[in-house]
Symmetry: C2
Subunit: 159 residues, 2 copies
DNA sequence: CTATATGCAAAACGTTTGCATCCCT
DNA sequence: AGGGATGCAAACGTTTTGCATATAG
């Protein structure tokens, strides 16, 4: 089953359980938000609005924001602050976890997984007397030459 | 020499070098920003404004923001995004580095150092073809009972 | 039929900027 | 004297909210 379908099913279950309604807007936003090609660009709220609005011209920002909040409550998305001044949301896909590296030259965002770090984070939390619930990690760095970021706009690279 | 004095010296050197001026506002803001008791609460820009404004009622937000930007340019501070919607700034004190753990029960912010994680971060960056410039790491967790966070307001703890 | 969701526009929020005035150097 | 710095208020971009209307259950 695709991640989109999986997400729609989880959303429906959450709505049912809480007496909330399954509307065409919520389904559309969820469909686009979980679309593989779309989500890999780490879209901003504005990006999401543009894409949703293109498919249904009546949908405004308020619904986008309200639905994103809903997805967070439903455990389907998490807010992440990778860049300044703009909240980006990321789909929570069961069994998947990654952190980010932001290229200081071109702004490209890469994902990575490193289990060793996760283990040490657990250890730190335990040492401080906490049960770890979540974490955010972002690395910032300059690329070797040539830049290996998949989304690197070469013209923009400054060294 | 205290961190405040150290910071004021570094600021003066930076100002001199760039033909900028040492004003009473810049010195006051720097003094408070680096004050040990003050900075340990991870103050927001508003917190800083309130404290500065109390000592010099003519200082407005614009000067706070402009001076914080200046401190960043001078390498004396870094913006950090620990909480939603509000940029917090942290003093850069030579030889000190730590990451943060945010208590999900009371909001207290703890600091920690874990060299093993730093080593692995370097390794990840190298693997992806980047030279690591900086990083942000925030852990979120619920406290054991009793909560060991120094700034934990016990009344607010929910379990 | 009723409660929830939507769309719009206005408000709110943190942050930045234009401009006249001030004050270091 | 002159260029940079300040204070104020207005502008800005993002996010939230009030309210009348529409729609799912």
């Amino acid at each position: 089953m695709s991640e989109v379908d999986e997400a729609l099913k989880r959303l429906t279950r959450f709505l049912d359980k809480h007496g909330l309604k399954s509307t065409s807007q919520r389904r559309l936003i969820t469909r686009i938000f979980f679309d593989e090609r779309f989500r890999q660009d780490h879209p901003s709220v504005e990006d999401l609005y543009v894409r949703v609005h293109a498919e249904d011209g009546r949908v405004g920002y308020a619904t986008i924001y309200r639905t994103l909040k809903l997805l967070v409550d439903a455990g389907l998305a998490s807010p992440s602050r990778l860049t300044d001044n703009q909240t980006r949301y990321e789909p929570d896909i069961p069994g998947e976890h990654h952190d980010h590296l932001v290229c200081t030259a071109c702004g490209a965002i890469l994902e990575f997984e490193e289990d060793g770090i996760e283990v040490l984070q657990e250890a730190v939390a335990q040492r401080l007397g906490f049960r770890l619930a979540d974490h955010r990690m972002v690395l910032y760095g300059a690329p070797d030459d040539p830049c290996r970021a998949p989304a690197c706009p070469r013209e923009a690279v400054v060294r």
